[in-house]
């Protein structure tokens, strides 16, 4: 019987088949092993090592959600009064005590807050805050599932020395001040009324102008 002629097609079809099932199974197994190796011991540490960092502030009063800083209906109205504590449990209060205030609300996971806090910390440490004006930070939207956790370590690392009031799990302080986004600036007059609310980052020059307008003559 004559041998069948080898055609170009049959020569082409002699492409060697790879054991795809084996390869994919091997890759999957390697990924599992590497996952176990990378996360070994981490899970136990993440759940037991760091406690949740929520505060238990009490708030009186509230402001509407900020829509537009230029036409803010909250200007001239009383600021909410907040009594709470910092991460160490030291009492921190934002109340109507006859002193003007600058309040900066930040979320640890927010990139814009992460950009804002370092220069504000430096600004404070340089002594740029006039006498007679108080500065407060509010750590809000605290969430251990999100980046840059824990907020206490972040603020300490950035050298943020202003008193920091810690918000609760449901962001009561932030909501009471009408926070729409982070970072959030609330400027309070000496008589306890709102001078301005600003959503988003500001510059050092802006902050200089703000505190200059608040400082007692």
């Amino acid at each position: 019987m004559p041998k069948p002629q080898q055609t170009a097609t049959s020569a082409k079809s002699k492409t060697r088949k790879m054991p795809i099932g084996l390869i994919l199974g091997g890759v999957f197994t390697v990924l599992l092993i590497v996952t176990v190796f990378l996360t070994m011991g981490e899970d136990a540490a993440s759940t037991s090592d760091l406690a949740d960092e929520y505060g238990t502030p009490s708030v009186e009063g509230s402001l509407p959600l900020l829509a537009d800083s230029l036409t803010d209906p909250a200007i001239g109205t009383p600021a909410p009064r907040v009594v709470g504590a910092d991460f160490a449990g030291t009492p921190v209060s934002i109340t109507d005590d006859g002193r003007p205030k600058v309040v900066l609300m930040v979320a640890h996971w927010c990139e814009f807050c992460q950009a804002e806090v370092p220069w504000v910390g430096e600004w404070l440490n340089d002594g740029s805050l006039p006498d007679g004006v108080d500065f407060y930070g509010v750590a809000t939207s605290i969430d251990r599932t999100r980046g840059n956790w824990p907020p206490s370590a972040w603020l300490e690392r950035e050298g943020f020395t202003a008193p920091v009031l810690v918000d609760d799990r449901i962001n009561t302080v932030a909501n009471s001040f009408g926070l729409p986004a982070y970072p959030y600036w609330v400027i309070v007059n000496a008589d306890g009324t709102i001078a301005a609310r600003i959503s988003g980052g500001i510059s050092a020059a802006d902050l200089d102008r703000i505190v200059a307008s608040l400082a007692p003559a």
Binding site: V36, L38, T39, S46, T47, A107, F112, Y182
Partner: protein, 184 residues
Amino acid sequence: MSTNTITTFFALSAVAILVMAAAASVVWTAARYSERAARLKGAVVESLGASAPLLAWVVALAATLGSLYYSEIADFIPCEFCWYQRIAMYPLALILGIAAWRKDRDIWRYALPMVAVGAGLSGYHYLIQRFPDLAASSCSATAPCTAAWVWKFGFVSIPVMAFACFAAIAWLLVIGRQYRSAAG
């Protein structure tokens, strides 16, 4: 099993897929000029082609279930762009399964445009996570798209995982089509 462990596995898988997709791009391009690369390309198509539609469905299903895990179990709130990517991916989990079952040779015509849109959305989402200033000047109090719920190995976020899945599906559809074209 914790969210961190599952996320680590997803992130490693995404990296593996991206490496394989990049390798495939190199081989497919080199195949135009190199006999050896052409033989390797042929081997990949021959080996993977028959099961490519099924594998594409598995990837789409895994991506769908993974995104639902993050929102329904890990309580990550999907932002606007997460929803756009879901709109591109979730239907693929259905139609690719049907196509694999029916051995539909033309599925690539319907699926590839959705994959391309989804991959583009993932790419943009990742860009605004890396460079938040491009999209906003603050983090929305609800669900900002500039904030990353996951950031593994210095660059893998959820949009990267989604992009990897879209890339895998695209390659599997291409391989499946080339296999069927060769088979006649």
